[in-house]
Amino acid sequence: MKHVMKLLFAGVVAVVFAVSTQTAKAVDTIKIGLIEPLSGRIAAVGKDALDAFTFAADQINKKGGVLGGIQLEIIGLDNAMNAEKTTEQLKKAVDQGLSYVIQGIGSNHAGNIIKFIDKHNKRNPGKEMVFLNHSAVTTAFTNELCSFWHFRFDANVDQKVAALVTQINRDSSIKKVYMLNQNYAYGKSFQSAAQRLLAERAPNVEIVGNELIQPFGKVQDFTPYIAKIKASGADTVLTGNWGPDMIRFVKGAVSSGLDTQFYTIYGGLTSSIGGYGSDAKAVNLKQVTEMHENHDGMPDDVHEYIAGYLAKYSDTWYADRQRWLIYMLAAAIDKAGTAAPIPVAKALEGMTFDGPLGQVTMRADDHQLQMPLVVSSITEKAPKSVKYKGNDFGVAFSTDGVADLAATTLPTTCEMKRP
């Protein structure tokens, strides 16, 4: 009898223990680190990213989370746009036992994260980390520098330039293109991709100028450049400029009455549109993105998502890839049946997702998301104008053309080493 009681007691204890760990697991969360500048000069961009990812994770959590009830939690880790602090925050992420790190602002930091995680994963088997890159576009990360632990959800520079060049080739009025880019890794990769792809895909277009400028606001006055563009007879400017280098360029061009078109990657960033002021209405500017609010034929869930985000943060939803990243990660965790990084990384390879312009695929060869892109023009006549922190800029984008997967899929030189 005593024995029976003992056994019974042990059984009860075991059951209670099992149940309690089960419930503990049920309310458990998967923590995801977001390393971005949350202080300093470009903290606004970092905070926008934190809002965007938190919102995306909230949507997953509202639908019941992953693995039947586990919640996703985004943890902001401030790198102040500084290389040492990026490493510091990575170490912090290791200490906290995070398996997933998101970053995207600044390819130099992304490059450091790839190196750090490669080394870390080699030395700490069983404690691997995966890097989910939402915006760092240096093409090399999915070519010669590719890593199994890195997944890029943004189109790289070459894909974006391919979309721009495809659109340029559709416009037969474009004869002469002037290229002006920032003199650092990104600007140079834009320049070389544009030269190569223009020659391949738009052989009738002549490059009449090819300029590299000192980047990050060092050029105060763009008038001499604008005079050169005018003198070259260019009808179109192709530029990867962003930030003050884009704003001053546009303001200078408008005040000088330069009537060329601007084909850009980042000309439509919300912060830049604010900087153009009333010149946004005068400039003939185009951008390439994975979607924009006024694009026709996007699925209803995308529109619902955009409306939800606007209601919560009073910002126009800009980088839909940030939603894809979280949704695909959640799907990969469910598919793998575990939140352990290696199975999830393997589940992400080749995973597809229904994006706003059609299906996107995480290519297993190089971990570069393959996606259609849309080229759009800034206009006052767009039905829904761009809003940011309660400001309505009175302009928005309307579609010129879509570059489908065939146009944006480019070969890779990646030789992936898998664990």
């Binding site: 000069r41 470009i42 903290a43 606004a44 003199n183 300029e211 590299l212 400028i213 000192q214 990050f216 606001g217 060092k218 050029v219 105060q220 006055d221 008038t223 001499p224 450049y225 604008i226 005079a227 050169k228 005018k230 003198a231 003050p244 704003i247 001053r248 303001k251 200078g252 005040s255 000088s256 009455g257 330069l258 919300t270 912060s271 830049s272 604010g274 900087g275 153009y276 002021g277 009333s278 010149d279 940011y388 922190k389 800029f393």
Partner: protein, 315 residues
């Protein structure tokens, strides 16, 4: 020849904007011996004030009130910030203004946010005054030129003809003597500092809508203003004018002519098919290094003539 004239004209436009900033800085230095590291921040403050004021009552009141406000802020900074620090010497003052630049940037970000604000050129001046080589020159650019020339003339007359101006001149060469003659030096200091800041404020009002009004505008323009006053000679108004014009014109010429620098490197044995670090030198042109040229000039100036073109004291 046309390219030359064009570069001269644009260079003068840009140079005069630099001069407006540098004049206040050099004035403050000449009287107080303080190198105001926060000077470009007052330029930024002028732009933001002008944006805020012009939002409600238009550009013209902003042109008057924004610099006045900046001047008052500047005077207050001198009275309650710089003056207590003064007795610890120039290094303490320098460090104070250095810190002030960061504080002002943060405060501006707190009030107006971290993204650029839409501060526009006034509609009344936003038309093409004339067209040259296919490019429009807006009336606003000419207006900028007129304002900056006007400021130079007014400043020159002020310093040469007025009593306060004479004191400033005296302080330039014999700062201790002016003090011993019993002038209320602290008050002169306060108003000179405020006045110098107001000059930066004017530059902000008329430059902010052309260059873009954003929290990083001070950091990107600040160093070049120092280059102007060091090349011109610390404390020299004429020097600041000549150096500002020179830098403006040099910048434009370097970009417009865009001369390849390869022949120069070739003299040092760099080959056309160079590899590695030399690879970048081969393709270098004057246009590519235009924003760096003033700093190169600064280094040369410090080596060969540390007091600058018209300076009376060594740096």
């Amino acid at each position: 020849m046309e390219v030359f004239l064009f570069s001269m004209f644009n260079g003068v436009l840009y140079g005069m904007l630099l001069f407006m900033l540098a004049s206040g800085l050099t004035l403050i230095f000449s009287l107080m011996g303080v190198l105001n590291f926060a000077h470009a921040s007052f330029f930024m403050l002028g732009a933001y004030f002008a944006y805020q004021i012009s939002k409600y009552v238009g550009f013209w009141p902003a042109l008057v009130f924004a610099p006045l406000l900046v001047g008052v802020v500047g005077a207050a900074v001198e009275r309650y910030g710089l003056r207590p620090v003064h007795r610890f010497g120039h290094v303490a003052e320098l460090l104070f203004t250095f810190g002030l630049a960061f504080v002002m940037e943060e405060v501006i970000q707190m009030i107006w946010g971290k993204v650029p604000v839409p501060y526009d050129v006034p509609a009344a001046l936003n038309f093409a005054a004339f067209t040259w080589r296919g490019l429009d020159y807006s009336a606003y650019r000419l207006f900028m030129l007129v304002v900056s020339v006007g400021i130079f003339v007014a400043l020159f007359l002020f310093i040469a003809k007025t009593r306060v101006g004479l004191m400033i001149q005296a302080a330039l060469s014999h700062p201790q003597m002016v003090q011993s003659l019993g002038h209320d030096v602290p008050t002169i200091f306060m108003w000179t500092f405020g006045f110098g800041c107001a000059l930066a404020g004017i530059a902000g009002v008329i430059g902010g809508n052309v260059l873009g009004t954003e929290p990083a505008m001070a950091i990107t323009l600040g160093p070049i203003v120092f280059v102007v006053i060091v090349i011109g000679g610390l404390g020299s108004l004429w020097g600041a004018l000549i150096a500002a014009l020179f830098i403006g014109i040099m910048d434009n010429m370097a970009i417009s002519y865009d001369i390849a620098l390869f022949p120069i490197f070739a003299m040092f044995g760099v080959e056309r098919e160079a590899e590695g670090i030399m690879r970048d030198l081969v393709d270098l042109t004057t246009g590519g290094i235009a924003p760096v040229l003033p700093y190169l000039l600064l280094v040369l100036m410090l080596i060969f003539r540390p007091r600058g073109l018209f300076g009376t004291r060594d740096v």
